[in-house]
């Protein structure tokens, strides 16, 4: 009669859970971004670190300010705001005034996320909404690139511009490989693209380390591999075809390794919230993004198109999801066979 009689819970089945959870998935992305982030700071110096911090601070502050108190703890705790801040920061030029980075992150979280109802409800990648806003708002500051490889402790003067004031630039500014290609038909050597000692956004220059991070996420099954695969495939094919015409268009390798291609394809387009759920949808999303990137880079007005390509495909994601629902088991012809169950 000494049986233990617990107060029984009525937690419904399934009792078992796969080990992964959402905050951890976010943390994984953090880890995967770490090498490229550190490389960015290494190349661009202390200033880059400050820009990243300003962006993350803006994201956290906005998330905190606009999330209802009841959900605040969870919203901050799921690491997603901080990740948005980091991702935005990585797509900013190293000499961007800190107030702009802060503002961009505020817009990213405010208009990109909170307004939609918070994590999981936004349909556009928040970091990219913030960046698109910044590029549209401060086109010059967002395309002026502090050179890499200077003394670590030296902070570009533009960084410290007072809020709402124009930054002052020192004469030294560099060009990105994409800018060189677009406006001066000048290539950049592959080793430099892989290593990352080029002009560009803080987190986008180091191809090899970004690939390493992507590999980590792939092994952890944290993203849908079809999306980057689709992007690489479409971009490489399109640019290969273009370069075959012999009109001096960049080849596939340059296309894949330059600009925000790797950062975008591996870490932004794969944001599960804003990309299609279905496997076929993921392919379409990836291929569409890859195509648009090259279209904008080669035929458009901007040297880089990754951000716009992803945002445009984000916009199409509800449609893609809708028309790529997998065929339900036991339903041969897809949906049209419809309502025979009861």
């Amino acid at each position: 009669m000494s049986q233990h009689e617990p107060h029984l819970l009525l937690q419904p089945a399934p009792m078992l859970r796969q080990g992964m959870n959402t905050p951890r998935a976010m943390l994984d992305v953090w880890l995967a971004l770490l090498p490229a982030t550190l490389a960015g700071i290494w190349f661009f110096g202390l200033g880059a670190l400050l820009v990243l911090l300003a962006s993350m601070a803006g994201a956290l502050a906005t998330e905190w300010a606009f999330t209802p108190a009841s959900r605040r703890r969870a919203a901050i705790g799921d690491n997603s705001a901080l990740l948005t801040g980091l991702l935005l920061g990585l797509t900013l030029p190293p000499g961007l005034p800190l107030w702009m980075a802060f503002l961009g992150a505020a817009v990213a979280i405010g208009i990109g996320k909170v307004i939609w109802g918070g994590l999981g409800h936004n349909l556009f990648n928040p970091a990219l909404v913030g960046r698109a806003f910044l590029l549209g708002t401060f086109p010059i500051a967002m395309t002026t690139w502090a050179p890499s490889g200077g003394p670590f402790w030296e902070i570009p003067p533009s960084l410290l511009a007072l809020p709402f004031q124009s930054p002052a630039y020192d004469a030294l500014s560099s060009a990105t490989p994409l800018g060189l290609m677009k406006f001066e038909q000048q290539g950049t050597a592959l080793p430099e693209l892989l290593l990352g000692n080029t002009g560009g956004c803080i987190g986008e220059t180091s191809g090899a380390l970004l690939l390493l991070g992507g590999l980590f996420l792939l092994l952890r099954r944290d993203f849908d591999w079809r999306i980057p695969a689709g992007i690489f495939l479409a971009a490489a094919t399109f640019s290969a075809l273009l370069s075959l015409t012999g009109d001096g268009y960049p080849g596939p390798l340059f296309t894949l390794l330059s600009g925000g291609m790797l950062l975008g394809a591996l870490f932004m387009a794969t944001d599960p919230v804003t990309s299609p759920l279905t496997p076929r949808g993921a392919w379409i999303f990836g291929l569409g993004t890859g195509f648009l990137v090259v279209l904008i880079r080669v035929f458009g007005g901007f040297p880089e198109g990754m951000m716009y390509a992803i945002l445009l495909m984000n916009a199409a994601t509800p449609l893609i999801d809708r028309y790529t629902q997998p065929r339900v088991f036991g339903r041969g012809g897809g949906r049209d066979r419809g309502e025979q169950t009861s």
Partner: protein, 446 residues
Amino acid sequence: MSLFNLFGGGFSHGVHPAGHKEQTVDRPIQRVPFMDRYVMPLGQHIGAPARPLVSAGEQVRRGQMIAEAGAFVSTCLHSPVTGRVRGIASERYPDGSFRPAIVIDADPYSTQQVEPRPAIDWAALPMEAFIEQIQRAGIVGLGGAAFPAHVKYAIPEGQRITRLLVNGAECEPYLTNDHRLMIERPDALLRGIEILLTKLGAERATIGVESNKPDAIEVLKQRIEPGQPVEVVSLPVKYPQGAEKMLIKAVYDQEVPAGQLPRDIGVVVNNVGTLVAIADWFDRGMPLIERVVTVSGPGAAYPANLIVPLGTPVREVLRFCGGLKEETREVIMGGPMMGSPVASLDVPLLKDSSGILAFTEAETARPPAHPCIRCGRCLEACPYFLNPSRFARLARARRFDQMKEIQLMDCVECGACTFACPSNIPIVQLIRSAKESIRHKKVEAA
């Protein structure tokens, strides 16, 4: 089929929960002693409840029919014990509700033998009589659904059964009752297969067993006589392989069209336990009055495989194997993926109770649900290729009609999506309540 197995076999999607079978896999089936009192709910199978044939004070023998089938989709109940009917009362059911049940006090002096009865010459029986016999035996699908077995054998005119598929997958973690049954009673199993093969006129039988039961596969292969149209197929371990249509897909690589039954493509699927029960009825006259149960889980003091008379209180079953550990938080009847929690230990063991599992804090603690980040793991888990994420999203907005449009009703509630969800969203519960609302609406409309 063999070609198909080259590619690894199995069905697409699904999940791989840890098996946890090692606790009981080597524990031979033990018989629990008889208890003082048994409770037999009248509606412990799918379909109409049974109609009681006994009244308070009546003496009943073990194996005596105490309730008859209430309809065609219904089945009979038999006394699990020799004793006296205490009455027909509203008794606590595992889901927490109270339902009418026949309560029997065991006769402490009885030997509890089932009176021997000559074997039934099943081969000579016409099909209708055979089906009636199965119903009389009270046999239901013992895999978990408790669907009256005879209904499956009533093949409509114009259809022909070509294959008998025996479900030995046992894909639910922790459970080993089917596994032990295959090892310990292979002959009864093969006998049941023989009976059904003959009566259904099917050409061959396949026993699908997940590859984590190599000893069962070995035993069965040895016992199959050369020339017998029976084969054993080893399947990759995956949940929910034991779901009828998934097993058919895994073994025959055929999809049963939505809204149709396996028999529509010429297949009858039966659980190993069901077939053993059929053999027991025809050979020994033993109706379904007991079943094999796995008692396991981190909260069980001594995990075991037991043969338990139906109607035995869960509390007594647990007591027999040492009770629950201090840290137990929850007790589940059935498997950990699809079973249901019990609110009290004073509920009877039923025909569909394949397991009694005790779970501790580690399994029951649920971190707060996070918003869905549309990671798609549930889509990859769903064996039916449904979109659980969308179901959950629509359910939150109470868009039940839209859920129906994307085939809500095809969901078998296997829980794979919920298992896979990193945001800890109770998808399968949302689906269940949506289905409930739709049915409710339909009833109101009718």
